[in-house]
């Protein structure tokens, strides 16, 4: 198992390196300079700007320069917001995005696991079909559709909850968290059901039943740990999806998080901002993926073996 841990760790390093390098050169290869939008700039000004942002140096020099700064946690200046650095913008936005993602994943886990367990306890009954149909609806109702619909119903028609903002008025975090979490609740419900059904058909569960244990005790003491391992393995990709989903949710609800800055940077062609956020989010995703893999193996050590065989 140790070998799996170390191997998995070592595998992440080239991935992160590839991400940084690919992103850097892709962004630099983009047609048009970052100052093209301002038509009024004279050539001298552009030259001075290029000099200030070190854009006239040879490419490899810029690259190593950037890497050097990156190691120190410095993402460089923003091209658009000239008096702010990318690092500052990230510091301002990341905690908000994290908060949103944590609420969403908690909602997804609680609802998803409960629904999946209910379905697995009595498969092919109403207790199975209803939560699973809801889960299918959740999967087919993407956040950019569910969010506006929730706003329309609960914010505009019923006027129960605020339609936008983050931390300005009570309850304005509820709709964004539900919007972001619902799809993952649906996937987690399906994974939990599948995992639990497989575990519940095992011999040791039958033994537990024969011993006369209650259903609750069988589920929580014996089945849950194994039954949830597909869910744990899904957490990494889910968090990656949540971060991408935050682009949409933060745009819909006008939340000043990193996702919204990223989308704005993509529109403004704010190259250093895109570069910085892409690298940061990518590294986060790679690391979280690794953590969820490790957690899954810790829960179910046989996974490490089957991974090595492949």
């Amino acid at each position: 198992m140790m070998r799996f841990f170390v191997g998995r760790l070592l595998q992440s390093i080239p991935v992160i390196f590839i991400v940084i390098t690919a992103t850097f050169f892709l962004v630099r290869a983009a047609p048009g300079g970052p100052f093209d939008a301002e038509k009024t700039l004279s050539p001298e000004v552009i030259e001075r700007l290029n000099e200030r942002y070190n854009l006239d140096a040879p490419m490899y020099e810029q690259y190593f320069d950037y890497l050097g700064h990156l190691v120190q946690g410095d993402f460089g200046p923003s091209f658009r917001y000239t008096n702010r650095t990318v690092t500052e913008i990230i510091y301002a936005g990341l905690p908000i995005t994290f908060e949103l993602a944590i609420y969403a994943i908690m909602i997804a886990l609680v609802i998803g696991i409960l629904a999946g367990m209910l379905a697995a306890i009595k498969p092919n009954s109403a207790q199975d079909y209803i939560p699973m149909s809801l889960a299918m609806t959740g999967i087919c109702m993407p956040s950019f559709l569910l969010g506006p619909l929730l706003v329309l119903v609960f914010g505009i028609w019923l006027q129960w909850l605020p339609v936008s903002g983050w931390g300005y008025s009570p309850g304005d975090k509820i709709l964004p968290a539900i919007t972001l979490g619902s799809t993952y609740a649906a996937y987690i419900a399906r994974l939990t059901r599948g995992g639990m059904l497989e575990i519940l058909s095992q011999d040791y569960i039958r033994t537990a039943k024969a011993k006369g244990l209650s259903t609750a005790s069988i589920i929580f003491r014996h089945a849950l740990r194994g039954g949830l391992s597909p869910v744990v393995a899904f957490l990494g990709p889910a968090i990656a999806g949540l971060l991408a989903g935050s682009f949409v949710v933060e745009t819909i609800f006008q939340i000043p998080g990193l996702g919204r800055f990223y989308v704005q940077a993509a529109f403004n062609r704010d190259y250093t901002m895109i570069l910085g956020t892409t690298i940061l989010l990518s590294c986060l995703i790679v690391l979280l993926n690794m953590l969820s893999d490790l957690l899954a193996v810790w829960l179910n050590p046989r996974l490490a073996l089957s991974n090595e065989k492949n």
Binding site: I139, P142, F144, L145, L149, I156, V263, I285, N289
Partner: protein, 296 residues
């Protein structure tokens, strides 16, 4: 085709059923999957015929009318420029479905080739090829697609390629696993002994055996690709006006949903229904073609 239990019994007594007849029979019994199949066929036929059966021309504006609720002239209402929503939905559906099918086709070609070569050749080639897949898997692809769209401009072709280039990874893994298991079968050894060429073995033995899982995965890739396109278009990073897709229409509908909710609800319904249909069909096909596979 086999329609009733009676036909099914006749077939089983007289000639034995092929794997495909078996699968078709099982699929036929799954009502939700069949409903999905009919819905998809319906949507595809409508999309193909749109230029001829569309109730209005795509660009027809009626500024005097403006946004109007569903009525006898405009079944699904009109948008703020007085354009017929149903016409726009039909044209948008063409793009949405086209992205879904085309990007899936790209991923299919790359994934099947990659997986077959890795699985068939085996050894070091296999190890290296699958390591590459592992590394690409770990990349945060959504962010990379956005990056590509920003860097190279938002073109439909690039969208196909970018999405296709990312979705092939799972396909490659599925195909490789399947090829590996077929490769070990005795009938393949027998085929080698009788002197068949590699290409003949692949064509006669490998391809028919990987078809089932591949079809299932295609049906599940199309909705995820369509979702991805709608996601990007919603953010304004996908399909660009004057072209339109369901994602673009949803995004436009959100801006005016307070006054004209139908502009959000109908495009949303179209996208959700299609995703539903494809997912149910995919689940049904998985149960029909691969009864041993567990449902997640």
């Amino acid at each position: 085709m086999i329609d009733s239990l009676k036909d099914y019994q006749d077939v089983s007594f007289e000639q034995g059923r092929s794997l495909w007849q078996d699968a078709w029979y099982r699929l036929n019994k799954n009502k939700l999957a069949m409903l999905g199949l009919y819905l998809i066929i319906f949507f595809v036929v409508i999309s193909i015929l749109t230029p001829w059966i569309g109730p209005y021309a795509y660009e027809t504006q009626n500024l005097a009318l403006g946004a109007s609720a569903p009525s006898a002239q405009h079944w699904l209402g009109t948008d703020i420029h007085g354009r017929d929503l149903m016409t726009r939905l039909m044209y948008g559906g063409r793009i949405s479905l086209m992205v879904g099918f085309a990007a899936t086709a790209v991923s299919l070609v790359i994934g099947v080739l990659w997986g077959t070569i890795a699985g068939y050749v085996g050894g070091l080639t296999d190890t290296i090829m699958m390591r590459i897949v592992d590394i690409l898997y770990a990349l945060p692809f959504m962010i990379f697609i956005i990056l590509l769209m920003v860097v190279f401009g938002r073109s439909l072709l690039l969208l196909f390629l970018a999405i296709g280039l990312i979705e092939w990874l799972t396909m490659a893994r599925i195909v490789r696993t399947q090829v590996l298991s077929v490769r070990k079968q005795e009938f393949v050894s027998a085929a080698i002994v009788t002197g068949l060429s590699h290409w003949q073995i692949i064509r006669r033995h490998v391809i028919p055996n990987i078809l089932g899982p591949v079809i299932v995965y295609i049906t599940l890739t199309i909705p995820s690709v369509m979702l991805l396109e709608a996601f990007l278009s919603f953010l304004g990073l996908g399909i660009q006006p004057p072209q339109s897709s369901w994602g673009v229409l949803i995004s436009g509908g959100v801006e005016t949903m307070e006054e004209y909710p139908w502009l959000l609800i109908f495009p949303g319904l179209a996208l959700s229904l299609t995703l539903f249909a494809l997912n149910f069909l995919g689940d049904g096909l998985r149960d029909a073609l691969d009864p041993r596979a567990t449902r997640d």
